[in-house]
């Protein structure tokens, strides 16, 4: 690991100043960044440790719930307000990583973990995300874990987060501080697709800091479910995961939210399927049809074509759970 400077700002302003310097990187839980530094994938000159900033709060607002960016994944997953208002988020968090990692990982850090794959991690392999212009090792390589939506000819990696799939489904908003003040962007627009710049995972500018996410109140608590299909039951990335949330009145769907993980460079919201479900009675036939609709534009590669079947099956299964049909 390359030697680096380390600084621990005590105020948000100091942090913003520190991260605007060239070669500086924020560290919070470090569960992904330290890994990448050890493997030589990233080599920052300076780490800005923001763990002392007062951003751990989980507080109700007039319109929903604010979760500070430094709130730990483990704490959020067990928070009473989260469990009561947004159990989907708790389920998604608990599906992610391992208890040890969740004890270190923060909400902001989880959002900032790299969209990645095994070729990104191995510095002897080509990877446009790690080293633009070197090619994509996965495209014609071992791409079992890779994306089926929104890929480019530069990159087919997937965002590995479960929490982000839950937040995308719940219409969360990201609150970002910069030196010129705060801005808010919808969670679904925080991460980006690879296009011609797979080295950029999201729309956070270098001199900006995530200070929290806000989830608007909704009526999904009763009928939501996070289903993650993976090779083992803990500490494994999703083959496909689905966050499903329904607002059901008398057996008829009033509102639906669906997002998928393990299928794209970013959490993949299924807007068309959601719209189609409105006004439909809850039934497996309807869920299957919505799932098929969600697959429009999907494209498989040599080892991941199974996701073209697994994804709709998982959507259907998650919706059945959310609707209480199983």
């Amino acid at each position: 690991m390359k030697q680096f400077q380390y600084t621990r700002p005590s105020t948000q302003q100091m942090a913003l100043d520190a991260i605007s310097k060239p070669g500086a990187k924020i560290i919070a839980g470090g569960t992904n960044l330290v890994d990448l530094m050890k493997r030589g994938v990233t080599a920052p000159d300076k780490l800005v440790d923001i763990n002392h900033l007062p951003l751990k709060n989980i507080t109700p607002t007039h319109t929903g719930l604010h979760i500070g960016s430094l709130a730990l994944n483990s704490v959020v997953s067990e928070n009473e307000l989260v469990l009561q208002k947004f159990p989907l988020l708790s389920m998604a968090l608990k599906a992610g990583a391992s208890p040890q990692l969740r004890n270190m990982a923060t909400v902001g850090g989880n959002m900032m973990q790299r969209t990645r794959c095994t070729y990104f991690y191995d510095t002897t392999m080509p990877c446009n995300k790690r080293e633009p212009g070197t090619g994509c090792g996965a495209m014609e390589g071992f791409n079992r874990m890779h994306a089926i939506f929104g890929t480019s000819n530069q990159c087919i990696a997937v965002n590995p987060s479960d929490m982000c799939v839950g937040l995308a489904a719940l219409d969360a908003v990201v609150i970002i501080a910069g030196r010129k003040g705060e801005r808010r962007i919808p969670f679904t627009e925080f991460h980006r697709l690879p296009e011609d710049h797979p080295e950029i995972d999201n729309h956070l500018a270098k001199d900006e800091l995530i200070i929290g996410v806000e989830i608007p109140d909704n009526n999904f608590a009763k009928n939501s479910y996070y289903l993650k299909v993976r090779d083992r039951q803990s500490y494994a990335f999703a083959l496909v995961s689905v966050a499903a949330a329904l607002d059901i009145d008398n057996g008829v769907i009033k509102k639906a939210r669906l997002a998928m993980g393990g299928v794209a460079h970013k959490p993949w919201r299924l807007f068309d399927a959601e719209k189609w479900l409105i006004g439909k009675p809850i039934s497996e036939e309807n869920f299957k049809q919505a799932a098929q609709m969600a697959m429009a534009g999907a494209k498989g590669y040599e080892y991941n074509s199974f996701k073209l079947n697994l994804a709709p099956a998982t959507i259907n299964e998650a919706l059945k759970h959310a609707a209480g049909l199983v």
Partner: protein, 709 residues
């Protein structure tokens, strides 16, 4: 009255691990944990190409990095006299740092020595090599045609060749097992410390201190007694530490060069290319039977990968020669040299691979015949060894079938696949059997009774986790009639009396028998002191005779009568799975393993060993798979995030059952080994249960969700 109690010093459920407290409190010291004065640290640099030559290697930057003492490559490696001037790839273990040739990706090309681990690690990242690349081959399936018959495993024929093809009912299928990499919890580690120019102490992760002593002595041309190898605790090994690997020789050479003790701990990524693996193996099994389920013929073919410098050979097809009473059997085994590191035995070596195919094929045949899989096995039960014709020393496999079937509720199983459901999940039952030779070799044990009543037992065998020390204490406590708290077991040091390497399911039989014999001899000595009486008040006897201690060193071996019998341990594994019909997720809901391993000397640790073996088999069936990107010849999942083995959430309460009937011939305890049979047959049981649940037969492990949707 009192002596009666003393003669039953072991509780019914067996002793708890004698070293359990040390292990859970962190006081058990493993190889990397010894505090050796002046120690420095080694980090290996691996080749990033798969076949070719090192054109140039830049070490200057690394050498100038802070704290670096040496960067060892083939250009400056001190002479290792035992290597002679042999050129690779003369068949034989990989000789490290002797020339510029690269045989596999990850092959060590440099060893960086620095005053701290972190500095060594950093400097290792600065070593850069340029290579001349040759076309490599890493893909087994693409290279099956270059397989050859190794000298140690010739083709076998009993009766008529390929007789199954003529049988009224026949099946023929191919089965593939991917590479499974050795990943015991403890990383391989060595501290090498030269005490004089011709004398060295090493703390090493090894399954056999005597074998490591011999190899290091040979490599450095030292008298064996000048090499002391210590491994009192080993954090799992499963075959990975059966042999002395290049990194161990490198650490010893490096310590000589820098004139300081060197500690070398492999990283987890290093483990994937340094300590062997269960090789990727393709198999084809043909079974033919009469309509009433009598086997007519078995044909079993296998091709497993090996390296280009060693012919790694294992008993993949042997189980088909031995398991069932079939008049016609033929087997063919090939090895395929590839640009990979050499495989090494992994628990149930070969047999576990072979049993996956044979026991899957037996299951397929049972459906073809519409006969219950247990019933099919009973109809083909071998009453004597089909290979040698000899009677078995003991075999209670039929009882094991019954015990396991009752326990799992086999009667609930449906012979029609896909017909049982619960809460929206498909439910299936499967079973698979296993067998492994029951051995006894030679061992010597010192038993020393001290004035305070403490009994010391000493022998050089290592305890890699099965509970060897506990079994020895149990045998001695029973034999001497003393409390196990009074017994101290000292193991894992080459200075102690000779014992075999821990492996091949032979240690309880061999070393246990030596403990038994030593205790018998010690008791005889006490009896002589006591004028022929039989007191177990040893302290009183010592006091009366003004002795500080009484000790014997006893060499023990099996009797010639053993040659008249075929000796095997047997197992059968029962699995119940739930399979999600939509997502293909498999959950093992029940796992029951039954062992016919003779008299169970140490019930608690035996149960633990069976459970561990079952979990290993479940991992083999459902998740373990090392993946090579053949374009580069390089592993793409050499870490615990991407290489999956089971975690707690995947494993139900595994139950271990024992027939627990003594083998009358093998050793005085009546015990047979069980390390291997714990895993052999499990993967087939899981695959068979998945078929029973879904009607889908997965012949290419691991059975991941994508294969079931």
């Amino acid at each position: 009255m009192e002596s009666k109690i003393l003669n039953k010093p072991i509780p019914e459920e067996g002793l708890s691990r004698v070293d359990g407290r040390l292990k859970v409190t962190g006081k058990a010291k493993y190889s990397a944990e010894y505090d050796v004065k002046g120690v420095c640290y080694g980090v290996m640099v691996g080749s990033t190409i798969t076949k070719g030559n090192i054109k140039s290697i830049e070490t200057k930057t690394a050498e100038r990095a802070p704290g670096v003492l040496a960067v060892i490559t083939y250009l400056n490696c001190p002479n290792i006299p035992g290597y002679h001037t042999d050129n690779q790839p003369d068949k034989g273990p990989l000789k490290i740092f002797i020339d510029d040739k690269i045989y596999f990706n990850g092959q060590p090309i440099a060893l960086v020595i620095a005053d701290t681990y972190e500095r060594a690690l950093f400097a290792a990242s600065l070593v850069k090599a340029d290579y001349t690349k040759d076309q490599h081959q890493t893909d087994l399936k693409a290279n099956l045609s270059s397989g050859f018959s190794p000298s140690k495993a010739k083709d076998y024929l009993r009766g008529q060749e390929d007789a199954y093809k003529l049988a009224p009912v026949k099946i023929e299928h191919e089965y593939t097992l991917p590479t499974e990499v050795h990943n015991p919890m403890e990383l391989h580690a060595i501290i090498a410390c030269w005490d004089a120019d011709d004398k060295i102490t090493v703390w090493d992760k090894t399954q056999g201190v005597k074998s490591t002593q011999r190899v290091i002595a040979q490599a450095f041309k030292l008298p064996p007694e000048n090499v002391q190898v210590t491994a009192p605790f080993v954090g799992g090994a499963f075959g990975a530490a059966l042999r002395t690997w290049p990194h161990e020789i490198a650490a010893v050479a490096a310590a000589k060069l820098v004139k300081r003790p060197v500690k070398l701990v492999l990283s987890r990524a290093d483990m994937f290319t340094s300590v062997g693996y269960r090789p990727h193996t393709w198999q084809k099994v043909g079974l033919g039977a009469t309509a009433d389920g009598k086997l007519v013929g078995i044909t079993h073919e296998a091709s497993g990968q090996t390296s280009v410098y060693e012919n790694f050979t294992e008993g993949v097809v042997n189980i088909s020669q031995l398991m069932y009473a079939s008049p016609n059997v033929n087997t063919r085994y090939r090895i395929v040299p590839l640009n990979v590191n050499t495989p090494t035995p992994m628990r149930g070596p070969g047999e576990a691979t072979g049993a996956y195919a044979l026991e899957s094929a037996m299951d397929e045949l049972s459906y073809a015949l519409n006969i219950d899989p247990i019933e099919l096995r009973i109809r083909n039960h071998a009453d004597s060894d089909p290979l040698s014709g000899k009677p078995y020393s003991s075999k209670f496999l039929k009882e094991a079938y019954q015990l396991g079937a009752d326990k799992i509720g086999w009667s609930e199983r449906s012979q029609k696949p896909g017909s049982l459901t619960k809460d929206g999940w498909l439910v299936g039952y499967g079973m698979g059997a296993g067998m492994f030779g029951a051995y006894r070799s030679n061992a010597t044990v010192t038993a020393r009774l001290m004035a305070d009543g403490t009994l010391f037992l000493q022998t050089s065998v290592t305890d890699i986790g099965p509970g060897t020390g506990t079994a020895m204490a149990s045998i001695a406590a029973e034999s001497m009639g003393i409390s196990p708290e009074k017994i101290r077991v000292e193991l894992g040091d080459s200075a102690l009396p000779p014992s075999p390497t821990q492996g091949g399911s032979q240690v309880t039989s061999t070393v246990g028998a030596a403990v038994f014999d030593a205790c018998k001899e010690l008791k005889d000595k006490f009896r002589q002191l006591d004028g022929g009486a039989d007191s177990t008040d040893y302290t009183a006897l010592l006091q009366k005779n003004k002795l500080q201690k009484l000790e014997v060193t006893t060499a023990s071996k099996g009797s010639a009568a053993m040659n008249n019998y075929a000796a095997f341990s047997w197992s059968v594994h029962f699995i119940q799975v739930y399979v999600n019909p939509n997502t293909g997720v498999v959950k093992v809901n029940k796992a029951i393993s039954v062992a016919d391993a003779g008299h169970i000397v140490s019930p608690k640790t035996a149960a633990s060993q069976i459970k561990g073996g079952s979990i290993m088999g479940i991992g083999m069936a459902l998740m373990e798979e090392a993946v090579i990107d053949h374009r580069y010849g390089r592993l793409v999942n050499n870490n615990f995030a991407d290489y999956h083995m089971p975690v707690q959430a995947d494993i139900p309460q595994v139950e271990a059952l024992f027939v627990n009937k003594p083998d009358p011939y093998l050793n005085p305890m009546g015990a047979k080994g069980m390390g291997e049979i714990a895993t052999i047959g499990v993967a087939a049981a899981v695959a068979n249960a998945v078929y029973n649940a879904t009607g889908k037969r997965i012949r290419e492990l691991p059975i991941t969700p994508d294969k079931l949707i």
